[in-house]
Symmetry: C2
Subunit: 271 residues, 2 copies
């Protein structure tokens, strides 16, 4: 997979992901809590943006957080230590070759990971193997096709579409949010329940205007300017108009909408 | 305004709107209740799909429901009578020439109306005049640009876009949901708060698969086949593929998403 654009592994992206995590914590994670003594595998923890939240919300659960990037693990470790948490361990590992025995974990948590994978259902099936019967899996993904806004702008949609195309060409899927339900079912999970987490932003919500529209979504699109132009997906002028129009949605009469999808399922079998 | 396509004024559409109202009642209206003794103006009541819900949920408020269509009023009256409600009156009237004195109403309710108007902000400003200072206005609108689904389908988006185009050519706006906040602010309302009401449908929610994806959204698109083709917006074959693909989203692995927007604001001044 080309890492030319993939977000999450570049220093400048770190701040963006922190902003995103700060703004969206309640929307995405308020209903996730693990029982006393349970062992939770967090897959693809990245720089730990979600790890701190997870561990704080379930102080009596133990987390093992893995990521393929040693640099990300190092940063995540610093963040967890900085937060004074002692219920998180880290391990560098590849999602498709996780060095754990079958049924090792009570719960699995996967956030913003499947979008980067060419075989997301296979990845979920592999995670199912690690889960004890009756254990839960939580999957959270965004969907860039869920972005719409006022004023509407074909240029802004075209710039967004560049990210969708780049991610597809790298083997990922930026429209995966809407697919969380069928993927979890295809991977064999029971009692799958998906709930959308829509981020609605107008100027009465200045924290989201700044934290989400500007510093999360628009910053993410701005971050693919060079690769998108380099790949011949768009002319520089058109891309810049698109970004300008995304910024326009942060004015007093602007509105921005985006939806994340959170799915929870169970591994078949008796607990 | 051409009525060739406008939903709500044709016999066959009546069932669709009933289905829609039945499925979406809680999502849209659960948080709307008016106090004892208050007088509420419902603008554009149509066949009374929302009127019955409103009046049942606020049995001690009185409603005056108006619509431009005498036939719709007659049907709405039958429905309200059939529900045994005695707190609703009806009057045929044009939204832009309502025969009421200034500050006559404690609250105003406007649902699925602005989408048909070429001057929605002016309409809201006119309604503000009828509201007592401190009274509330509630505005609910859909947004056809909020529709996305799995499997994704350019043909289904193209068929949907035909409705957006027809409604725009008739002076309306099928993408108005996202604009509820700026419209209410532009009309001078205070303390405007908009909340999205997202309809998320997968096969674990069979009532919504049937009641919303199939009988509301897909039926609405099917309903514009002739005018869309007649206006030269699309080839018959392409349109039919689009409808087929919308129906495809109702299968076991399909997902359908749509969002309504509900805004509540207050008229400036002391109550």
């Amino acid at each position: 997979m080309s890492e030319a654009y993939v977000h999450g592994y570049h220093p400048r992206e770190k701040e963006r992901l922190e902003d995103q995590a700060g703004t969206l914590v309640d929307l995405l994670h308020a209903d996730t809590a693990y029982p006393h003594g349970s062992l939770v595998l967090e897959v693809g923890c990245g720089v730990g943006a979600q790890t701190v939240t997870l561990a704080q919300r379930s102080p009596n659960a133990r987390f093992l957080s893995v990521d393929v990037s040693a640099d990300s693990i190092a940063e995540a470790t610093r963040r967890v230590d900085g937060a004074g948490l002692d219920n998180v361990g880290f391990q560098q590992a590849d999602l498709f070759a996780l060095p754990f025995a079958a049924e090792s974990f009570d719960h699995v948590f996967v956030c913003f990971v499947l979008e980067h994978l060419s075989r997301p259902a296979a990845a979920l099936a592999g995670l199912s193997r690690l889960l004890r019967p009756g254990g839960s899996i939580t999957v959270i993904e965004g969907d860039h096709g869920s972005a719409y806004f006022y004023p509407d702008s074909p240029a802004a949609h075209a710039a967004t579409q560049c990210l969708v195309t780049l991610q597809r060409e790298a083997g990922g899927n930026a429209l995966i949010g809407r697919q969380v339900y069928p993927l979890m079912v295809a991977a064999g999970f029971d009692a799958v329940r998906v709930s959308p987490r829509m981020v609605y932003v107008d100027s009465s919500r200045p924290d989201l205007v700044d934290g989400f529209t500007l510093k999360t979504f628009t910053a993410m699109i701005e971050g693919i300017r060079e690769p998108a132009i380099g790949a011949g997906l768009i002319e520089p002028e058109s891309f810049d108009v698109g970004v300008r129009d995304l910024r326009r949605t942060t004015e007093a009469d602007g509105v921005f909408c985006y939806t994340f999808f959170k799915g929870v399922g169970e591994k078949r079998g008796r607990a």
